[in-house]
Symmetry: C2
Subunit: 136 residues, 2 copies
């Protein structure tokens, strides 16, 4: 498997605007995009921090995965995403090595990436995402 | 505040050796150091992933902060650490802007860094660390 860097850290928040204010006003980071990902029932806000993005996630539905996460664990870090060169190959290798996949096939994520999630039961509690830039 | 990149992601695990095996054998990352940080009652394993490190954390004491985290929330991402140029300035700015500090003064962390934590109550649920490389 060829993981090149941490593409982003996903953080579940209750109120996107209040969280953006904290990341901008206190930490001095700059929100460069806000995007709704209907498939995942979230509104996201992006910040570039060196090589890695912070992706704040606010649920757009009471039964969405981010809403359920906050209900169970509270606000906080929701997932970690690795940039991979060949997402199909990475998924196939992970599955062959015993990892339970949430997505057997990549789907469309924010910013036009091909994405897929591994189940946290197989990854020591970390909801883990693979991301592939389609143009690379 | 001058945050330059995400220095590391701290991940709480129950069994460091089993988790290292997953990160090496499945994800293909390389554990380059194992270090005990007595102050925080943890044994840590480090992996470099692009600009950012993954720091696996196993508690060395039943009452340690990582043991308590796992008891409450299960294994998973424990904290996010930002590299800052001037940790005293960053702490002072955060406090001035209403953030509750866990460490008012930096202390010694793994790999010889000066570190300090912000309280997750003030940071939308994310235990947030500042790290300063003393030589820079």
């Amino acid at each position: 498997m060829n993981i090149s860097y941490i593409e982003h850290i996903g953080i579940a928040v209750k109120d996107l605007n209040k969280a953006i204010e904290y990341y901008e006003q206190v930490l001095g980071l700059k929100c460069y995009a806000i995007e709704e990902v209907k498939d995942q029932k979230v509104k996201t806000a992006f910040f570039q921090v060196g090589q890695t993005k912070i992706e704040l996630l606010e649920s757009t539905a009471d039964e969405g995965p981010v809403a359920r996460f906050i209900e169970k664990k509270g606000e906080g870090i929701h997932h970690m995403a690795f940039a991979v060169k060949d997402i199909n190959g990475a998924l196939s290798e992970a599955e062959k090595k015993g990892v339970q996949l949430i997505d057997k096939q990549p789907r469309n994520g924010a910013e036009g990436l091909n994405i897929a999630f591994l189940h946290p039961k197989s990854t020591f509690g970390v909801l883990t995402e693979f991301c592939e830039h389609p143009e690379k």
